[in-house]
Amino acid sequence: MIEVKGLSKYYKLVEKKPGLSGAVQGLFARKYSIKKAVDDISFVIDQGEMVGYIGANGAGKSTTIKMLCGILTPSSGEITVSGIVPYKERKRNASNIGAVFGQRTQLFWDIAVRESYDLLKHIYEIPQHQYEKTMDLFTEVLDLGPLLGIPVRQLSLGQKMRCELAAAFLHSPSIVYLDEPTIGLDVAVKVKIRQFIKEMNRSMNTTVILTTHDMQDIEEICKRIIIIDEGKILYDGSIQSIKDRYGHKRIIHFEMEQEGEFTLPESLLGKAEFTAHEAGVVSLSFSNLIITAAEVISEMLRFYHIRDLTIADSRIESIVQDIYERGI
């Protein structure tokens, strides 16, 4: 269980003047500015929850995660993770958590993957029989068998990420932080990784905190999301309720039988909006609080010959993008 109250982290940045003279001046006198990376945030996450922690680049996600891991000391506020204050008892907190940082490797670069796991076994003091059991399970689920004898430098990105994931879950931590675990991966590997995370949560009741820019990850794995922007929490709640609140906007693309001028049927005026007309495809957007998709379609069919149509899903992706751009 994670409790965060009034958490803030400020960074001191060195401001350098531009150009060569600025560089020289910077050697003698420096100016600092304060950046609020995380600004007074609070939340509670229960054991076994899977939470998507999302925000634009530089919003303060990684800073929060690092404070939860005990790597960074907060400027103010309180954190407890399973009753431990992470930055005060870093080592005790560490045996409780696992993490994947999508952009850094935690495995040995030059020697076989198996050796990394073997060292982790000793570092986390995992009993031999438990280690063997977990390894067998991971080897099967993540298909690690053929990878174990190969050094990381010779693995593909997808293979590497599967290995990283196994490393993060190896000691059965109660909390796992996943920082962009699917970055740059193909769809097949992404699916495998999502399945693995869900499986771990189901069988071990692992709490998962996931930061990612891939909304598909979030939608498939998490029930709850926390959206952060410029260090502040914009939204904290279930995915369903954010969809209910913002997801009423729909778009339908109609493929017309005949190309040519298009005018909105009179009965739809004021209810739906004509947004685009490209290569014989007409797009209408509307809010399903005002008019249902079925009504829009039947109205269109009355006036035009339609060859085909697609209803765009109210994806969390566009909702989140909306929130980033316009605020809540």
């Binding site: 690092k66 005990g70 080592k91 560490a94 030059d110």
Partner: protein
């Protein structure tokens, strides 16, 4: 304790990952020693002693100093790099003390260095360069104790560079400076006894001569008896002072840590 030993072992595995590189190191140190050997022969061409040291003592000193000089560096550079590229974050979320881990890695690489460099070097030195044996069994024993202390001091002192990276962010210049100071004051280049007396005085107050000069001088008999025991006691004091200082600096560094690169 077990986990740190496993880390040391993994470091040995890492060192042996690239075979050609491994043996190249053996060859290069022997090469280096042969050059130094030829150099000192040339210096002694027209004289029998320099500051009371005959050629054979000098050769013995220089060979052993080269050998120990191999151990003075440590893993501070590795820590500095991890701080700079931000991968120290991953180290800090593991249930171990990073300083202890680094010392374990250092131990590992020094063990593989011993097999790779020290053994071949000693073999060549005894068989072909005819270096002197230690003056007595006792001095051999004291040499080994003193050499180990010197190596420990080297390991710890090097960590300072890594810890400073938390404040300075980029420590390449510092490492160059360190290498220069070490080469001079540790006694790797020439015995400290060849310095002018005021410089010897300065050196006496620094920890660096404990790393190479003291053990080697005990071996060659330049420091003997009570003086040898005193020198070892001073080494011990330095070791303790440096370890305590480093742990203190570390606890400060860890509180102000900033992780770079997202």
């Amino acid at each position: 304790m077990r986990k740190y030993w496993e880390m040391a072992k993994s470091q040995i595995q890492l060192d042996t990952a690239y075979t050609a590189w491994y043996w190249a190191r053996s060859a290069s140190i022997i090469m280096r020693m042969l050059i130094i050997y030829a150099f000192w022969h040339a210096v002694y061409e027209n004289r029998t002693t320099i500051s009371d040291m005959p050629l054979d003592t000098m050769i013995t000193y220089i060979v052993l100093a080269t050998l120990l000089g191999n151990y003075v560096s440590g893993v501070g550079g590795q820590l500095a790099n991890q701080v700079r590229d931000g991968s120290v974050a991953i180290e800090l979320m593991r249930p171990y003390n990073l300083l202890d881990k680094l010392v374990a890695l250092d131990l590992g690489s020094k063990i593989s260095g011993t097999i790779r460099e020290t053994f071949p070097l000693l073999l060549v030195a005894f068989l072909f360069l005819h270096i002197n044996s230690p003056t007595s069994w006792l001095s051999l024993l004291l040499f080994i104790i003193s050499a180990l202390l010197g190596i420990f001091i080297g390991t710890q002192l090097d960590l300072i560079i890594g810890i400073l990276a938390f404040w300075l962010h980029y420590v390449w210049g510092l490492r160059v400076l360190r290498d220069a100071i070490l080469a001079f004051f540790s006694g790797v280049l020439v015995p400290i006894t060849m310095f002018p007396s005021w410089l010897q005085m300065v050196s006496n107050f620094l920890p660096f001569q404990s790393m190479v000069y003291v053990p080697v001088a005990i071996y060659t008999g330049q420091i003997e008896g009570i003086a040898a025991l005193q020198a070892i006691a001073i080494q011990l004091v330095w070791l303790v002072v440096i370890i305590v200082g480093i742990r203190l600096a570390w606890s400060f560094a860890i509180r102000k840590v900033t992780i770079f690169g997202g």
